[in-house]
């Protein structure tokens, strides 16, 4: 088993390639890896309740993918705790650095 951190800076409203990240997260998890997705920048936009991609995030969580979103990116876009899709937890740069400082974790920026 490997540990992967997928950092999503793009959003599916603008970039069709976000599908790749979502599918990769699911695929890596399905074959037995531990996967975290960290949403940052416009990557947090699908995390708003009622977004067209809310179900995608729900699907990811069903595959045991841990979902984190950067607090500054959220607040910059007026996405507060009450607006947030239930499966997504608010995170920050400190937690991102903690994850990155695990030498067994493989980070992939998208």
């Amino acid at each position: 088993m490997s540990r992967y951190l997928l950092i999503e800076s793009r959003d599916p409203f603008d970039s069709r390639d976000c599908d790749w990240l979502y599918e990769t997260a699911k695929g890596l998890s399905k074959v037995g890896n531990e996967v975290t997705v960290f949403f940052v920048q416009n990557g947090v936009l699908p995390s708003r309740k009622g977004s067209r991609y809310e179900n995608y995030l729900h699907q990811l969580s069903l595959y045991n993918v841990k979902l984190l979103a950067d607090s500054l990116s959220l607040s910059e876009r007026a996405i507060s705790d009450r607006h947030l899709v239930a499966e997504v937890s608010i995170s920050n740069m400190d937690q991102l650095v903690d994850l990155l400082m695990d030498d067994q974790l493989k980070p992939i920026w998208h």
């Binding site: 800076s9 416009n42 500054l72 400190d94 650095v97 990155l100």
Partner: protein, 139 residues
């Protein structure tokens, strides 16, 4: 001081991509947490350290340069070097020399050094982990 080292490769220039801001935030958090950081600035990212950057007034806001507290990326780089010193950790910032030459970006603030792909590989080899933050502007 954790003894851990994070290497970042960054590619975007000042202001035009939030990826640069996120990279700065990651470096800041890592240094504050007592980790050393190595940065390989490639392509437009070599302009982040340029000494010639300067504040200006903002006519849309009707504000002076002083009111604006304009963020200059060179000041962030200087601030990160200070932060590293305060936390007794190292910040090594290497600007890709060929990228610098092509952009005329060779006059930079105190701290960064000139290097190339070999330096990046050495950074990777000596780090706890490496994160590449690529430029994603479409062609």
């Amino acid at each position: 001081m954790s003894g851990k080292i994070l290497t970042l490769a960054i590619m975007d220039g000042p202001y035009e991509s939030t990826c640069s801001t996120t990279a700065f935030r990651i470096i800041d958090a890592a240094l504050r947490k007592g980790h050393s950081v190595k940065v390989f600035a490639y392509e437009g990212a070599v302009s982040l350290t340029m000494k010639a950057q300067k504040e200006h007034p903002n006519p849309a806001h009707g504000t002076s340069a002083e009111d604006e507290h304009h963020v200059l990326t060179k000041r962030w780089v200087e601030g990160l070097y200070e932060l590293a010193k305060k936390h007794h950790v190292d910040l090594d910032w290497v600007n890709c020399g060929l990228c610098v030459d092509e952009r005329g970006a060779g006059d930079w603030v105190v701290g960064p050094t000139r290097g190339g792909p070999a330096d990046f590989l050495t950074m990777v080899e000596n780090s706890t982990n490496t994160l590449v933050i690529p430029s994603k502007r479409n062609s």
